[in-house]
């Protein structure tokens, strides 16, 4: 299936990354894990795409797959195409891939300690990263490294280059990681839950930094999180994942004001607010997230969905486009049920419908 043009972008923006029908399966001793199914999206320069979903919904595997970072076996990655600036990532050789990962697409992980080497100073690691991509002297690279630390808000950057990763606090390490990923001026930055382990006041610092960087650098950013609040504050467009699939995809205001998938709607209802009226009892989504042991044969949210009807259990709903650059994978949103003169879901479902 093809991706339709998502959010309203300005004409100066160009698509840098395009993923078409990505599927990732792990072949494990306990059987197959269908971690990512039929995922398609694109990213433009200067745009921030938020990816939300609970743990195990396939967010990390999606990003690792498109960078070919997963060892195979056990992973098996197939896609119609994964295009970075029009070039197909899947057919890239090792050399080209290395260049892509270090140069074109920067990556920030949740735990910076896993990607910073504890035995080298931050200055050494930064200058090495810079010199791998720019033909400049050590001295120049060091000056650039200090500039980068300053840019991400680290005080006394020249002195701090001499420090080891453990000498930085959690929030500061995450800044170092951001500096690191900026070293080669990537066109795309993928940040995988970079603030999940941080306290809210430190998270607020990092989000502020990202807003500034976006404005100044014009990178395309993919920001993965399980926190809808974070996405509301920084994203232009949002993808909601559930059970390894994109269940909803929309511009940020559209998504929050007008959620179309029952899962998104339930997720928003389940979160208590910091200042809206307080309900006596929290709305809760009963049941458990799906097992991914087979390719989806029904809607993966069906067992927990308030609106599920027979079709939901018979067939996995395809993602369909609606007005306002909105897409959802839900039978209730499918033209077969929404078009004029089409078949309708059972009456009691329509009655329960509140959106």
């Amino acid at each position: 299936m093809t991706v339709r043009e998502p959010a309203g972008r300005q004409s100066s923006q160009q698509v840098v990354l395009e993923v078409n029908d990505l599927k990732t399966t792990f072949n494990t001793r306990d059987g197959q894990v269908h971690a990512v199914n039929n995922v398609s999206f694109s990213l433009s320069t200067g745009e921030l795409l938020g990816v939300v979903g609970e743990s195990g919904s396939g967010k990390s595997v999606t990003m690792m797959s498109l960078l070919k970072l997963l060892p195979s076996p056990p992973a098996e990655v197939v896609a119609d195409s994964i295009l970075y600036e029009g070039r197909d990532v899947l057919s890239m050789g090792d050399e080209e891939l290395r260049e892509l990962r270090g140069g074109g697409i920067g990556f920030i992980f949740q735990d910076p300690m896993t990607s910073l080497n504890p035995v080298f100073t931050v200055g050494y690691q930064l200058t090495e990263a810079i010199r791998q991509h720019l033909p400049i002297s050590k001295k120049e690279a060091r000056a650039r490294a200090a500039e980068l630390l300053a840019k991400v808000g680290i005080a006394q950057p020249v002195e701090r280059l001499r420090d080891f990763p453990h000498q930085f606090s959690g929030g500061m390490r995450q800044r170092v990681m951001i500096a690191m990923s900026l070293a080669c001026e990537p066109k795309v930055l993928i940040a995988d839950e970079p603030t999940t382990a941080l306290d809210v006041t430190i998270q607020a610092q990092i989000l502020e930094l990202v807003r500034d960087l976006r404005r100044d650098q014009g990178m395309g950013i993919i920001w993965i999180t399980h926190d809808l609040g974070v996405v509301a504050g920084i994203a232009d467009r949002v993808i909601v994942m559930y059970g390894g699939q994109i269940v909803e995809h929309a511009p940020v205001k559209e998504l929050f004001n007008n959620p179309q998938h029952p899962y998104t709607k339930a997720l928003l209802a389940t979160m208590p607010s910091i200042d809206a009226s307080r309900s006596e009892r929290l709305y809760s989504i009963e049941g458990q997230p799906p097992s991914l042991s087979g390719a989806p044969t029904r809607c993966s949210f069906a067992p927990r969905c308030e609106y599920a009807f027979d079709r939901c259990l018979e067939e996995n709903p395809p993602i369909v486009s609606m007005d306002n650059n909105h897409q959802a994978a839900c039978w209730l949103r499918h033209p077969q049920y929404t078009a004029q003169g089409s078949q309708h879901p059972p009456e009691e479902i329509s009655l329960r419908e509140t959106f």
């Binding site: 809210v200 610092q205 509301a232 504050g233 910091i274």
Partner: protein, 332 residues
């Protein structure tokens, strides 16, 4: 939510006065003490019967240590803890053992406290072995009842912890904490490790159990939205000290302490329109080390409104109008 309806529920359940927990810091071969970590430093508060007090603050500020010191899992450095009229601080031996049945703890990571080689039934019944003289049969019956009470199938009693999801394991942890019919439970970040859709399930369960068993909770969390939902009053902690304590309405509608204000302003809201116009108070720098807290007010190094007095004098913990408390020189 606790319904403070009957007169009985207006009784004091917990009274904490000047509680401190300082951990010594040793160095060198001779293990010479070179300092101390003031993990909890002179905190005072009370909780009424059937009430939920939220305890919020960023990681490392001393929430868990406070919870543990309350339950006498640590011997506090100083201070006094009274549970339902009994001074717990002074208790030892058999008396302490007896009062332990009244106070329990629910942990963030249920995995860590569920022995992987024990069946769920025996995990839940374990506290009964130590503290009751129930027969094997009675214990089994009780474990099944508890599983049912936390919304799990009693027939799961013969299964092992790894067979369950995070949310279900938390339910098992809750069932175990309830086994001895405690009066007071410290819930230490019980939902922090759970997914959003599972968090609400567990919070609703905790609220139901509170109503059914007239439980009193200290609910430790860094999730300010969830605390707003579950707690009647909230205490805010920073670097070992309480900085503010107020009712839910007071705290969220009119926070007084500059740290509380910054903390609340940093919580991301799932609403793009609000987020776009939100005034954030971005605190500079990091929390100082509790081994070397600043002089004067602990928050003075990051406080946006600090004056010279704040660097010099520790602000007293004092009561304001409306039963709220604060420690700040700049708040009248």
């Amino acid at each position: 939510m606790a319904a403070l309806a009957s007169t009985e529920s207006l009784q004091l359940m917990l009274q904490v006065t000047g509680l401190s927990m300082h951990f010594p810091v040793y160095k060198g071969l001779m293990r010479r003490q070179i300092g101390e970590i003031k993990a909890v430093d002179d905190i005072s508060f009370h909780i009424m019967r059937g009430e939920t007090l939220g305890l919020v603050g960023e990681s490392g500020c001393g929430k868990s240590t406070a919870g543990r010191a309350l339950l006498k899992l640590y011997q506090p450095t100083s201070g006094r803890v009274e549970l339902d009229g009994t001074d717990v601080t002074a208790l030892e031996g058999e008396d302490l053992r007896r009062i332990r049945t009244d106070m329990q703890m629910i942990f963030q990571d249920p995995q860590a406290c569920l022995n992987p080689r024990m069946t769920v039934g025996s995990i839940i019944a374990e506290p009964l072995d130590e503290h009751t003289r129930l027969s094997r049969r009675q214990k089994r019956q009780k474990a099944r009842e508890l599983l049912d009470a936390v919304g799990m199938n009693p027939d799961y009693e013969n299964r092992y912890p790894h067979e369950f999801s995070g949310g279900q394991r938390q339910r098992i942890g809750i069932a175990r904490a309830l086994a001895l019919e405690p009066k007071f439970i410290v819930c230490d970040e019980p939902i922090a490790a759970l997914d959003v859709s599972i968090q609400a399930q567990v919070v609703n369960l905790l609220e139901d159990l509170q109503q059914q068993h007239q439980l009193t909770y200290l609910f430790i969390s860094h999730d300010l939205s969830m605390v707003r939902h579950i707690a009647d009053r909230i205490a805010v902690m920073y670097l070992g000290k309480l900085v503010e304590l107020a009712s839910r309405e007071q705290l969220y509608q009119s926070p007084q302490h500059p740290y509380t204000k910054a903390l609340l302003s940093a919580v991301p809201e799932p609403d793009p329109e609000k987020e776009a116009i939100r005034e954030r108070i971005i605190l500079q720098g990091d929390v100082p080390s509790p081994a070397n807290p600043p002089s004067g007010c602990n928050f003075s190094t990051r406080c946006p409104i600090a004056q010279e007095q704040c660097m010099r004098e520790t602000p007293a913990w004092r009561e304001l109008e409306g039963g709220r408390y604060i420690a700040c020189h700049m708040v009248q």
